[in-house]
Assembly symmetry: C2
Homo-oligomer: 229 residues x 2
């Protein structure tokens, strides 16, 4: 079972790693990371690089195609070369799975037209603009295509997909192996739980409309070294 | 605020990425990944590589030191070069934070002697062997050292630490940004919730004592391409 994670500069790393941590441990899983070019792929805040050993020109099919979201999904949607690849490979799979704004890439490829789907809560409007029907679910499973909500939702979706592929007992073992018994320190993970000002702040941050407010000062430390320097 | 993630071949990628996704977005965060040598660092199942732009010989301090767990924490504990670095850098920080079996590295460095701490549920005995007091908590915070439970616990710990560093309001915004409102499809994330046979299976898998049972067959697909090939 060949699981292909599509990466692009500006992807959100937890989107990919959440489901990777379970899907990559399924029996028979062959995992690869694919990007427009082989090499290092930087995440959305350019603070981590993941290696893509294969380019999209080297991969023409998959059993499971996983597409993470990020801040640069729009650049992918506007690139015919990558979108042609998404359209081509997505036709060869058992399951296409997106996390966060990865669903906007699937929607732009025409895979979600007229279908219920989800994405990051701040991007329902973009999803709808492609003819999908946004719903506020943790994931939406149509069998051949699954869309998960924002970032961390990929962990839940990955366990759900693991259960479909390898059985509930195996998925439960994976859940225990990653000790996934969440205890968020706050109840602020969904719009309906968060304070209105928190929602506004995050929407503005994601829209690039304003910088976040300064938090209280951090204790100073002496040795600041630039990354790579 | 310089946040240093220590990587080693055989680390568990979600251990690092869970807290990375929030800590790297704190105001003033300067993040780097450090390993014994610069270059690509493979995770525990060798299916993903993260780039470490700096070697431990190039970094002698940090504000926050983050140490993930993995299947190769023992190799680190047995390597004087890496352990000397852990001991040295951990003395320069505001906070040392571990996830999963990363706490065993801190314990081996003498940082947890006589202290309550946590780790992956299947490794409490190793933690205790170093003189720490294992507790089944999602995280244990002593101010200057925080240990989190297995793998996914790093997400919760990362939000907790984000709140300490940048305030509750900012941490709540980060939680909403990553849409962290978990909906695990099963209740199997902690030993007390999981079925006894699930606990035995995972303990055996982690001990390398037996291979997991075969799940039901997966639908075959035609194009199997080896990673990198």
């Amino acid at each position: 079972m060949r699981i292909v994670f599509f990466l692009y500069d500006g992807f959100t790393v937890l989107d990919a790693i959440g489901p990777f941590e379970t899907l990559s441990r399924l029996p028979g899983a062959e995992v690869t990371f694919v990007a427009k070019q082989t090499g290092l792929v930087a995440n959305d805040n350019q603070l981590i690089d993941i290696y893509a050993p294969q380019s999209i020109d080297e991969v023409d099919s998959a059993d499971i195609l996983v597409v993470p979201g990020g801040t640069a999904d729009e650049a992918v949607r506007n690139d015919p070369h990558q979108m042609d690849w998404i359209r081509k490979v997505s036709q060869t799979t058992q399951v296409n799975a997106s996390i966060c704004t990865g669903s906007l890439i699937f929607a732009a490829a025409g895979l979600l037209t007229g279908k219920k789907a989800t994405t990051h809560w701040a991007r329902y409007d973009v999803l709808e603009s492609y003819g999908a029907i946004p719903v506020a679910e943790r994931w939406v499973d149509h069998g051949d295509i699954i869309t998960a909500a924002g970032v961390s939702a990929g962990i839940d979706m990955g366990l759900h997909l693991s259960a479909k592929l390898a059985g509930d007992d195996y998925a439960k073992a994976l859940q225990l192996a990653i000790e996934y018994a969440p205890e968020p320190p706050f109840q602020s993970g969904r719009v309906s739980d968060a304070a209105p000002e928190t929602v506004e702040l995050v929407a503005a941050m994601m829209g690039g409309e304003e910088t976040p407010p300064s938090p209280r000062p951090l204790p100073a430390k002496m040795h600041r070294v630039s990354r790579g320097g």
